[in-house]
């Protein structure tokens, strides 16, 4: 009986001593900045424009023009523009083109500014 009590006390003492050696360490939380993945979308592929053929019709050459169309197997019909409307179409086209050029440049500038690592000091 005495031995049993002695052994129990010894085991308890050992357990206390051993558990006293271990301690809960302070949890260290650190933050690491993870840079956002660059979007890096490619520009859309350039399209190949279909060729257009303008036909000028006057009161004098109208018959000749329509005969030529028939000869070529085309429908004898033309979609017309007046000289002023042709001018407007040309200018509209130039404006659309200019807008595309500027838009592309803006996209390139944004890409360069936000995704080019060379201009960053860190």
């Amino acid at each position: 009986m005495y031995h049993m009590i002695k052994n129990t006390i010894l085991i308890l003492l050992l357990a206390v001593v051993v558990s006293g050696c271990s301690s809960v360490k302070e949890l260290k939380i650190f933050e690491t900045e993870v840079p956002r993945e660059p979007l890096n979308l490619p520009h859309p592929e350039a399209a190949n424009m279909e060729p257009l053929q303008w036909v000028i019709i006057t009161s004098e050459n109208a018959e000749e023009v329509f005969a030529k169309l028939k000869e070529q197997g085309k429908d004898p019909v033309l979609f017309g523009l007046s000289d002023k409307d042709y001018e407007f179409l040309s200018k509209n086209f130039a404006q659309i083109r200019a807008y595309m050029i500027k838009q592309r440049q803006v996209i390139d500038q944004y890409k360069d500014y936000y995704e080019n690592e060379d201009n960053k000091t860190e």
């Binding site: 350039a46 190949n48 257009l52 000028i56 004098e60 000289d83 040309s90 083109r97 050029i101 000091t121």
Partner: protein, 162 residues
């Protein structure tokens, strides 16, 4: 009696030594904290310097981007003005060019001119969309060689002249 005084003196001396020890320990801790604070401040100053440098670089990049856009705007405006001039040129008699009248009088040549200009304009759209320039376009330097609709993007070697 005398024994009690001795004990009291010893206790006072011990208390003084203990107090001194605690005071020095406190000073050491304060010093360590101050050193750590100094280090943090130095690091903070360094990181602030880096932020200021980055900001300066960003401002420069924004300025350059704006300047380039402005340059493109001016070039495109000049090309648009040239197109307008082609339609509304003043002839030797002081009259505005009338494309309709010209087309009635010289139908075939005007048709050819319009078709050539359209072909060039189509090519300009392809280039604006990012199509590669041909060697001929890259090396063109004369008016007869260039794409008169959009020389700024089609012919990088061309320098406008009169």
């Amino acid at each position: 009696m005398f024994g009690s005084i001795k004990i009291a003196i010893v206790l006072i001396m011990l208390a003084g030594a203990g107090g001194g020890f605690v005071y020095v320990k406190g000073l050491k801790a304060d010093l360590a904290t101050s050193e750590a604070n100094n280090l943090k401040l130095e690091q903070s100053v360094e990181s602030q310097k880096a932020v200021i440098e980055q900001q300066a670089n960003d401002f420069k990049a924004i300025l350059v981007a704006n300047q380039e856009l402005e340059k493109t705007n001016k070039t495109l405006a000049a090309e648009f003005a040239a197109l307008d001039k082609r339609f509304n040129k003043i002839n030797g008699r002081g009259e505005v060019r009338d494309l309709g009248d010209l087309a009635v009088k010289r139908t075939k040549p005007i048709e050819r001119v319009i078709n050539n200009a359209t072909k060039k304009a189509m090519r300009c759209v392809e280039i604006a969309m990012g199509a590669e320039l041909t060697e001929k376009e890259k090396t063109a330097t004369k008016k007869s060689e260039i794409n008169s609709e959009c020389p700024s993007i089609a012919n990088p070697s061309y320098v406008p002249y009169d």
